[in-house]
Structures are given as C-alpha cells and as structure tokens.
Symmetry: C2
Subunit: 192 residues, 2 copies
DNA sequence: CAGTTGCTAGACCGGTCGGTCTAGAGTGGC
DNA sequence: GCCACTCTAGACCGACCGGTCTAGCAACTG
C-alpha cells in the first residue's frame, strides 16, 4: 500500500492541474481519478465533501505554490519595475509552456463558482487576499508610502490578473508586458 | 406561431444570460431551453453546430451590447478620469444589481473554453479586440498621444477586467474604484 | 387546394456526471 | 494471533448531459 497521505496528495495535485486548465465544471471526477490512478472510494474517503472540497483545497494549494513562486521572483528584484515585470514573466512562462492552457490557477474556478459555491468562492478570495498582501509588502520595500501600498497592491493584482486572462484569450503574452510596464510607471509615480 | 426569428432571439438572450452567470460547462442546454420555453428541435434548427455555436453567438451578442453601453458611458464623460470611472461603475452596477452573479459576459466563458474550443476563444478574442479599440478611440479623444493610445487601452481593458473579476470573488466592488482611480492617474500622466 | 418550406415539438439515445455502498487489503497495538 | 483502524478498490446508482430523429403544424407559393 502507498505511504500515508500519498494518495490524497496525488489526487489533489492532479485535480489542481485539471481545474486550472479546464475549470470546475469542465473537469470530471472520473478524469481526476483516472489521471491520478486512484479509485473512487479513496477520493470520498479523503474528501468526504466531494467535488466542492476537492476544488477548494486545490485552489488553496495552487494559490500557496504560485504565491511562493511569485514571492521568490519579487524578492530577487531590486526595484518595483523589475519586480512587477518578474511577476508578469512568471505567468507568461506558464502560459507559453502549457500552450496557453495554464493561466491563473484561481481565476477560472473563481469566475465559474463564485456565485454557486460559497466554500470555493471563499477559498479563491483567501488566495487573492494573500497575494495582495504579499504585493503590498513588496511595494513598501520598494519605497511606496505606507498608506498607498494597499490600494496600489490591489491595482497591481487586478491588472496582472486581467492581463493574464487577456493573454490566454489572445494566445499572445505581449499584453502582459504592456501592463507590467504601465504598472511600473504607476508605482514609480507613487514612490517619488 | 411565433414571428420569424423570435424564438432564435429568445433562446440566444437566455443563453447569454446563463453563460454569463454560470459559465459554459455550468449551463445545460436543457436549462436554456426550459427558461426560454423552446423545444430542443428549435435549438438545433437555429444552431445546427450545437452548444458551441450557441456560446459563440451569445458571447458576440453580449459583447456588442455591453460594448455599446460602455461607449455610451464613455462619450458622456468629459475627461479621461471620469471616463474610466464610468466604465468601472457600469460593471459595478451590474455586479450589485445581480447580487454578484453577473460580471463580465465574456470572461467566464473565455477562461473555461479558450483552450478547448477555437470558435469560442475566437469570439471572445473578437469582443475584447473591439472593446480595446473603442477604449483607444476614447483615449485619443481625451488627448492621449497617438502612439500611446493602443498600449494604454490594453492596460485599461486588462485592469478593468481584473478588477471586475476580483470584485466578484470578494463580493465587494470597492476594488473597481481603486483601479479606475489609478488608471486615471496613468492616463493623465500620459496626456501631460 | 396541393405542395413546399420554415419552424416547432418532444420522445429518445448512449454516455457521463457526482455520489454511495460494500468488500477487503494492509498495518499498527496488544 | 487477533482486533481495530486506515485506506484502497470498484461496482453501482439515478440524474442529467449534449445531440439525433421523426412527426406535424403554420404559412407561403403556384
């Protein structure tokens, strides 16, 4: 038998990947099970609340991992302009490497499920909140005044999310660079 | 019998509304048929390519109508700052009036279907292209230099789309105002 | 009035959906 | 050795999915 918790982890990672590519309703549990080579009984043992719980945890997991990568990119940047550029490049790389199938791991599920499932909406909301706080922290580090960091972080997150969505629809990552460039302008304007 | 084309129109409008609220895979044809009181035979007579065609045309229709409303809002504004604010308020009103069920009529379907259906992705891409051009036109009218209008329009569209998505997830439209405010700064910076 | 066309009407299809249930394999403590 | 517990395993369920098909009504054409 597989080690404790190994199956749960494998199912969760497979689900996160599939939800990111195909959305919530576009992903069937049978597909998740087939790709993670797990039987249905295991799924409902580890996720007794079913698909909703699986999606909530998948979003939380993906959010944490992408958040960590984003933080890493941002910490390596020495100023705001290169910092937001690095965030954009992270998503651009993800899009290009997956042939525009993998955009933001939260957005697709969020839009589909925000109205119909409170647990999923809440999980998405939490992830975005964490990202926004991380961005605000970085902005302060780059010299943005305390009282302007939070609103600016919200704008950076919104704009980046919109750009990733548009890039996916257009099958062209150029818009991400355009947007991060303008965000650089905006932050420098707030800093000086 | 109903007048020519009346059923087609009714089905299309119902579908557009449901796709906007629930997404592509979250909306069943039976639900569309029930709410528009049309039999299945009519659907496949008017939309022989099935659900994919229905979604493509729904996105195009909704895109045109929202685009017209947006243009109207923008034309009534006398400067860039109030123009982008009006665009944001349009979406904010839509969210509030629908209890955060109706966000952008394109975004949800776009993210779900961009990878799996080329006709739908293309329809979404077209709508976003039209909106971007409309925004660029308005920006030129507000004194943005010719060569900066197109990139700035892409940023305005991205940021607004991201803000509407975040507002829906957070069930709070405040972020839309924050973003449009920053967009106002950005455009004034480009104008002066 | 017969024939044709445009459209409605809904029964019906195989397949897949999310979810439940029972059986049993593996593993620890006693 | 034996029990208790954790987890795997997959058959099975009713509901619903998108899509097809045939029948027939209504209105125009000759």
């Amino acid at each position: 038998m597989a080690p404790r918790g190994e199956t749960r982890e494998r199912v969760l990672r497979t689900a996160a990947e599939l939800f990111q590519r195909q959305g919530y309703h576009g992903t069937g549990l049978n597909q998740v099970l087939a790709e993670s080579r797990a039987p249905k009984g295991s799924l409902y043992f580890h996720f007794p609340e079913g698909k909703e719980q699986l999606a909530s945890e998948s979003v939380a997991l993906a959010g944490r991992e992408v958040g960590d990568s984003l933080t890493e990119s941002v910490l390596a940047a020495e100023d705001a302009r290169s910092g937001v550029a690095a965030m954009g490049e992270y998503f651009a790389r993800s899009l290009l490497e997956s042939d525009f199938e993998k955009g933001c791991p939260v957005a697709t599920v969020a839009l589909e499920s925000a109205a119909e499932s409170e647990p999923i909406r809440s999980a998405c909301d939490t992830v975005y909140g964490e990202w926004r706080q991380g961005i605000a922290l970085a902005l302060r580090g780059w010299g943005v005044p305390e009282d302007r960091a939070e609103p600016l972080a919200a704008t950076v997150l919104s704009s980046l999310q919109g750009a990733v969505m548009l890039a996916r629809v257009q099958k062209d990552v150029a818009v991400i660079g355009t947007v991060t460039g303008h965000l650089g302008d905006l932050i420098e304007q707030a800093t000086s």
